[in-house]
């Protein structure tokens, strides 16, 4: 059953001449990991803002169609209440730090203080999330003196600590190195295993292919594709819609064009190795 449903949703920011979202129909089921891709300006962040209730409550603008979150229209949701249901991590690491806490440990606990979590539980949760995100070494540091990547991890930790059932994550790895990026994806996978619903905007398509259950492709404020990751990401026509496909899927398509196709077009490295081995095994 879908947890979030968008029916013919169109949205324009105040004073904007063009739609940020246009006739969008989407549904997100509980416990699934959705990857959202598309060019800059395609409407990815607006979609996140809508699901998080910031559109229309915070930004205003004109919203038409229906956006149902957990059975209630987004317009009727109290955003403060929605904040406890849906966690949100966004791009800019420098504005996600509260600026009022002197240590990372306190910064991560801020959301828990706001939720009225008892102190002992709060401490245990923060310790757990610091271990999970491998930021144990940062707990005594001043959050305002951290690098962009470190701040992004702290912001991520703060939201994970709040233990929302759904997480909307807008390009969390834009400031991270490859190791940090891999760590973040591992955490997202862990969240998925815990039954959380994850909506992740990300440009790193190879990693999305590895972890996402479903992919949504946005193009010029509209949904160009939506479906299971395996199905969507092996489609070379994604490239014509301004999205990327995994390198191995591109390789699989090229091999198919040359008449030496694999059993199926792989979208992950592991999948590609298996398909190539199968193909080579078949020839020998």
């Amino acid at each position: 059953m879908s947890f979030i449903t968008l029916q013919d949703v169109s949205y324009k920011y105040p004073l904007a001449k063009t739609f940020a979202l246009k006739h969008v129909d989407l549904s997100f089921e509980k416990g699934k990991f959705y990857g959202i891709i598309g060019q800059n300006g395609a409407g990815k962040t607006t979609l996140c803002n809508l699901v998080r209730g910031l559109v229309p409550h915070f930004y205003g603008g004109s919203l038409t169609g229906k956006t149902i979150i957990d059975g209630t229209d987004v317009k009727k949701w109290d955003t403060d209440q929605l904040a406890t249901q849906i966690g949100y991590v966004f791009q800019n690491p420098f504005t996600q730090i509260s600026g009022v806490k002197e240590t990372v440990f306190e910064e991560i606990a801020l959301g828990l203080e706001n939720l009225g979590i008892p102190k002992d539980e709060m401490i245990e949760r923060v310790i757990r999330v610091c271990k999970l995100l491998k930021i144990e070494d940062l707990i005594k540091r001043d959050p305002n003196a951290l690098s962009g990547g470190q701040r992004q991890r702290v912001a991520f930790a703060a939201i994970i600590a709040m233990d929302s059932d759904t997480l909307v994550i807008d390009e969390p790895t834009s400031q991270l190195d490859p190791e940090g990026t891999a760590d973040v994806f591992a955490i997202i996978q862990l969240l998925k295993e815990q039954g959380k619903t994850v909506l992740l905007v990300e440009h790193k398509i190879d990693l999305l292919a590895e972890y996402a259950d479903e992919i949504v492709v946005l193009e010029k404020a509209q949904v160009a594709f939506q479906g299971p990751a395996q199905e969507v990401l092996q489609n070379p026509s994604l490239l014509e819609h301004g999205a990327q496909i995994p390198q191995v899927a591109l390789l699989g398509s090229k091999l198919k064009e040359k008449g030496i196709g694999l059993a199926h077009i792989p979208i992950t490295q592991k999948d590609a190795i298996a398909a190539i081995e199968e193909r080579l095994g078949g020839e020998s």
Binding site: R52, L54, F58, D78, T79, D80, Q81, A83, T84, G87, Y88, V89, F90, N92, F94, T95, Q96, I97, S98, G99, V100, K101, E102, F105, E106, A109, L110, G111, L112, E113, N114, L115, G116, I117, P118, K119, D120, M122, I123, V126, I127, C130, K131, E136, D137, I139, K140, N144, A155, A158, I159, M162
Partner: protein
């Protein structure tokens, strides 16, 4: 992970210095009384005695350096100007020396000392309070007595915003320099550089405020539940409460005495 640090939040946060550990509201009470006393008592030396006391208290709190760094500037600037103005332009009978129409008298010197001492002592009380009271402790104490956490956040975030704006202005200045805009040199060059710097700075600050409010929203800042605190201060000891009550009674006594004496 430093678990000792993590679990230290289970206990009230202490600085290990009795003055620093005094409840912030009691520190405020004390400093407010000190500031008021300077205005109430008519003696010229009261302000200077209080300044000496502030220096001692700042040293006890381990904040002598930061306190003195701020205080001596106020002492030299505000104190000196007030003293000179009063000493030169207050009428008196015992003239010490004259310079044109300006007559410096014994009375004007004592009046100048009193006014300068009182105002500088008032400023000293504010500076002392600022130095011995971490802002977050003050806001915690205010929240405990019912001030909204929104107000508390605005106060604390404003302090951080000053630092952030300073850093942003440096970044913008460097960017504008890279574009060939002169930001250094004489007064005219600096004034010309002001416009291309202030625009991006203000717009950036507005944009950051918007994102910051979204970030706080994501942290359930306005969640309709009673907030809890990770970092808590100790309960005020009975002796401290008694001392503050005595100080307040002393202030009332001074005010009453002054009224009767007048």
């Amino acid at each position: 992970m430093d678990l000792d640090f993590a679990y230290s939040f289970k206990n009230p946060q202490l600085y290990g210095n009795w003055l620093m550990d005094v409840n912030p509201l009691n520190k405020f009470n004390f400093c407010a009384v000190m500031a008021a006393v300077g205005f109430i008592l008519p003696y010229w030396w009261i302000g200077y005695a209080m300044m000496a006391g502030y220096l001692v208290l700042a040293a006890i709190a381990g904040k002598f350096g930061p306190f003195f760094k701020m205080f001596y500037k106020v002492f030299l600037l505000v104190g000196a100007i007030l003293f000179l103005m009063r000493a030169m332009f207050t009428e008196g009978t015992t003239i010490l020396f004259s310079w044109g129409n300006i007559h410096v008298t014994v009375e004007s010197i004592f009046y100048g000392l009193r006014v300068a001492g009182t105002v500088v002592a008032f400023c000293g009380a504010v500076i002392l309070f600022y130095n011995i009271t971490p802002m977050r402790d003050l806001m915690y104490s205010l929240e405990r007595i019912g001030v909204s956490h929104e107000t508390s956040y605005i106060c604390l975030a404003s302090m951080q915003a000053i630092t952030d704006l300073g850093e942003s202005s440096k970044v913008i200045m460097d960017s504008q320099k890279a574009r060939g805009i002169e930001t250094e040199g004489g007064l005219i060059s600096r004034m010309k550089a002001f416009i291309p710097i202030i625009g991006p700075l203000v717009l950036g600050a507005i944009s950051n405020t918007e994102e910051k409010s979204i970030a706080m929203d994501a942290r359930a800042f306005s969640a309709p539940v009673k907030h809890t605190f990770l970092r808590e201060l100790r309960k005020t000891p009975a002796a401290e409460k008694a001392a503050i009550i005595l100080i307040d009674i002393a202030l009332v006594a001074v005010i009453v005495g002054r009224i009767i004496w007048l």
